[in-house]
């Protein structure tokens, strides 16, 4: 079965072709980061306008790259939520009607399920069941994944998401949007231990997170060291970024270990934009090895939004017999654990 996958839930237009026999055949991505940079965040109307312009050229490109003709496509999958309503509508309207024209099934995919399954695209995929840490701009959640579509929430952030915390720290350090990768890069040059930030909620039982206190600690450190230009010197900025990243990563690692212990599972999957973070990957690798558990993650480009994860998740749901009616349904809000198990 060969599936064309479309992702337009936010500020990336992603298109991919996945084949259940041959794996991922091609994927292309257009990021609108430059478009939104001057606003310091995603502007929904501009994002939607850009998706309508970019989707078709990207489809032509991915079809050519994968040597796929319309007759080779067995289904079209598109992100139908959660995300920005207007942006979701573009991909869903286009994808649903293209499936109609090609007379193939259409499959609406949950964006976070896409993220969750992205590590399945790698050579050494994890096996069900496992614990998943979803860490992105909008999510910090620990999920018990029993099987495809069967998800139980174990814990989540009670305030900011981890990616959001990274983005806010970036702003305090005057780094460009989106700040997560920039904070991580700056942190590499930082001196370990010069600053020590709190690890919120780690000494309390449970699997919830809180990152808003860390925000305050970061801001206090920035203000206490600022020079005439309103910022600490370059090395101090790096040291603060280092301390910030260490605190987030430590917190995530502690909770992941705890979730594995509680569920008795030995497999952890990390997904979403923050799962691209090098220190998070390295620390999980070494810490989980100590308890005989293993961590799985997607290649860097499949940690943030992309079409490949949508094509993959869509293909799994197609194989399980799911498809959409002619009505196009978009869900800006959509609980992951309300999905049907397959």
């Amino acid at each position: 079965m060969r599936v064309l996958g479309l992702e337009t839930s936010c500020d990336e237009t992603g298109v991919a072709v996945y084949d259940s026999e041959r794996g991922l055949l091609a994927h292309v991505l257009y990021t609108q980061i430059a478009l939104h940079a001057e606003y310091g965040g995603v502007v929904p109307e501009l994002a939607s306008r850009d998706h309508v312009r970019k989707l078709l050229p990207l489809i032509n490109e991915v079809m050519e790259k994968s040597d796929t003709g319309p007759a080779d496509i067995d289904a079209i999958a598109y992100t139908s939520g959660p995300g920005l309503v207007g942006a979701l509508m573009v991909g869903a309207s286009f994808g649903r009607s293209l499936a109609y024209a090609w007379k193939v099934p259409a499959i609406g995919v949950h964006h976070m399920e896409g993220h969750l399954l992205a590590p399945m695209l790698e050579a050494n995929p994890p096996e069900f069941p496992f614990v998943a840490l979803l860490v992105s701009g909008g999510h910090t959640q620990l999920v018990k994944v029993n099987s495809l579509g069967d998800y139980e929430l174990l814990g989540e952030s009670i305030d900011d998401a981890a990616g959001e915390a990274f983005d806010k720290a970036a702003k305090m350090l005057d780094l460009d949007y989106p700040g997560g990768p920039q904070v991580a890069r700056l942190a590499e040059r930082g001196v370990d231990g010069r600053f020590k930030f709190p690890r919120p909620m780690v000494d309390r039982p449970g699997l919830d997170f809180s990152f808003s206190g860390l925000k305050t600690a970061t801001l206090t450190a920035v203000n206490a060291n600022k020079q005439a230009n309103g910022l600490p010197d370059d090395q101090t900025c790096a040291d603060i970024a280092n301390a910030f990243q260490a605190a987030v990563v430590d917190t995530l690692v502690i909770k992941c270990k705890r979730a594995l212990e509680q569920t008795g599972m030995k497999t952890l999957v990390i997904a979403g934009g923050v799962s691209a973070n090098k220190k998070l990957r390295a620390d999980l690798d070494s810490e989980l090895a100590k308890i005989g558990a293993k961590v799985f993650y997607a290649r860097h480009e499949f940690c943030t939004d992309n079409g490949a994860m949508i094509a993959y998740a869509g293909c799994q749901r197609l194989l399980a017999g799911q498809h959409e009616t002619l009505a196009i349904n978009i869900k800006a809000r959509w609980p992951l654990d309300s999905l049907s198990s397959l």
Binding site: S9, C10, H36, Y39, G41, V42, V43, P44, E45, L46, S48, R49, V52, R53, L55, L56, P57, I59, G81, P82, G83, L84, V85, G86, M89, V90, G91, A92, S93, F94, R96, S97, L98, A99, Y100, A101, W102, H111, M112, S136, G137, G138, H139, T140, Q141, V143, L153, E156, S157, A161, E164, T325, L326, A327, I328, N329, R333, P335, L336, D337
Partner: protein, 239 residues
């Protein structure tokens, strides 16, 4: 000779029409907030009723705007998908011209020019002037998004000496009332039927574009865009 399917979701109305050599059939619903749910089923219903397949069509027309941004994008997205999928050319049609044609068809004795206004919110209207042209309409000015005050002061309007009829919901603005106290009809909406009629002429003239060029005409291209920082939040898991 042509077979053209037209789609429109530029306002709260949702409509599809088929123009088979001048014979029009259509479906029309007021479906505010449910365009995505209704448009494709309506296309399917109309095609099936006429015993046609997408591939029998010569072209697909759509209401390219101005109108509701989201509505325009739903329509453009669906049209792109259908046209790309069935390898058909696309014919973008002005919603304001389609409204004017609809009014003329409903009022065969009226020959005055029409001043068409859709509410663009933020105290502005999408604005156009149209006249009869044979069986169809022709625009007298370039479409714009402007405030009612600018409409009132415009030389194009002054030149008509009050000999026009104002049509469309944009005429609700009090400033516009001073222009046309009697000759105005607010309850005029875009309808795919009129797009299908206009499109047949454009098709005959070769005025078609590719699926990729099936893009909305927003008219409003710069406002202080509102940014939104949090896209998906944890509530997506547990509501």
């Amino acid at each position: 000779m042509s077979l053209i399917l037209a789609l429109d979701t530029s306002t709260d109305a949702c409509s599809v029409a088929l123009n088979a050599d001048g014979v029009i059939t259509s479906l029309f619903e007021v479906a505010a907030k449910s365009h995505t749910q209704r448009l494709l089923p309506m296309v399917d219903e109309l095609l099936k009723a006429k015993g046609c397949e997408l591939t029998d069509l010569d072209a697909i027309a759509f209401g390219r705007g101005p109108g509701s941004f989201t509505g325009l994008r739903i329509c453009a997205g669906i049209v792109q998908g259908l046209a790309f999928g069935a390898s058909l050319p696309v014919i973008p049609v002005s919603t304001l011209e389609a409204m004017a044609l609809g009014f003329y068809r409903a009022n065969p004795d009226i020959h005055l020019p029409l001043a068409v206004a859709l509410d663009a919110r933020m105290n502005e209207v999408y604005w156009g002037l149209c006249a009869r042209s044979g069986e169809l309409v022709e625009p007298l000015v370039a479409e714009q998004v402007i405030s009612p005050d600018v409409v009132v002061a415009s030389t194009e309007v002054a030149r008509l000496h009050g000999d026009f009829i104002g049509i469309g919901p944009g005429w609700h603005y009090p400033a516009m009332q001073t222009l046309a106290t009697v000759n105005k009809v607010l309850n005029v909406h875009p309808h795919a039927e009129n797009m299908a009629l206009i499109a047949a002429k454009l098709f005959a003239e070769g005025k078609v574009v590719s699926a990729l060029e099936a893009q909305p005409v927003y008219l409003r291209d710069s406002v202080s865009w509102q940014k939104r920082q949090r896209i998906r939040d944890s509530n997506d898991f547990l509501v």
